[in-house]
Amino acid sequence: MSTTTVQGTKWWAGGKSPFNATYGKVMMWYFLMSDAFTFGAFLISYGTIRFSVNFWPDPNQVFNAFPGFGHQDLPLSFVSLMTFILIFSSVTMVLAVHQGRHMNRKGVEKYMILTILGGIAFLSCQAWEWTHLITGEHKVLVNGALETWGTTVSKNPWGPAVPHEQLSALGLAASEHVTTPGPVAFGGYFFGITGFHGFHVFTGVLVNTIMLIKTRLGHFDQRGHYEMIEKAGLYWHFVDLVWVFVFLCFYLI
């Protein structure tokens, strides 16, 4: 195939797909485009609310824990692990597609298994992070009384810190870290958007598992092509693409 023959083609003359792609693949692209608008709407809504308030929690304070490291301050560390897990599972997915193009069933199986494991690893990380946020205990000064809060959709313990003078007025040591309630929208946006993304990862793992089973049963060899792997791959890469933006909006900036 040379580029010149593609350019000389009368794509809109009828009798062929003007997109040089199968119906299924074109529709997968349109689904992903609509899904991009859904995620985009969520993230832009989050940005709008964040721009509309005077104070927003510092992600480096909220997301600074790593399993097994107790209360050490390790900003960005756990989310880096999650990001690299997802990038790597994206690579194994594109390698599975590559093996499929070469009609190599064993290769497809191997890389699909690795991709599924990557997806499960990511979901496990997310489960840990959610649990850590929800069950974490933080001292919050609410209407003059101390309360212990976790991060939920209705409670945000990550407001501005209470100054030392006020701590001693309350009979607390100056070293104590006490905050005031932060903007309540924080938890809703974080759990809503990462949850919606995690649901996509979960669906992607399911789709990839079905594709692995179909590969093992030899369905694609019978069909003569591995295009289903390519379509599942498009969805999986989209999930990785969304994470790139979730990572940017919630953890980096």
Partner: protein
């Protein structure tokens, strides 16, 4: 032409890539861009930029641009959109341009709400930069 053409809808079959070198090249590129983002973000977490608001905003802008490059490589190479014909690329990319307007308009709106709240709809001086430690007024025995 490849012998496993999916359907007659395909006019030109893309020849499958000979090896996986391009995939690994993009993997290292994505890893490098992510590492650069993390380094810049880590600098923010460790207060390398001091209290310089302009510098922090610049660093965040650089991180956004690096993210845009990551998105481009994922879509173009991993999703193979770059290998598709121009008609398909345009039908996907053109609608997404709406995001340019969405982002500018909505963030502008959010900022406008903030100003309206801080100035009580422009009826008093802006209170944004007054340190507000919420409980101060609600402390028992203190005047609001």
């Amino acid at each position: 032409m490849s012998n496993h053409s999916a359907t007659s809808e395909i006019t030109f079959e893309h020849a499958p890539a000979e090896n996986t070198s391009r995939i690994w090249k993009v993997f290292w590129l994505l890893s490098f861009l992510t590492a650069a983002e993390l380094l810049l973000g880590y600098g923010h977490a460790r207060h390398w930029y001091g209290g310089n608001e302009g510098l922090i905003l610049f660093v965040k802008g650089v991180i956004c641009i690096l993210t845009a490059f990551k998105a481009y490589y994922i879509v173009s190479v991993f999703m193979h959109l770059g290998d598709e014909v121009r008609n398909l690329i345009m039908t996907i990319v053109t609608p997404l341009l709406l995001f340019v307007w969405f982002i500018i308009a909505f963030l502008w709106d959010g900022d406008s709400w903030k100003t309206l709240r801080n100035t009580d709809a422009h009826s008093r001086p802006n209170i944004e930069n007054i340190k507000h430690h919420a409980p101060a007024s609600a402390m028992p025995g203190e005047k609001p």
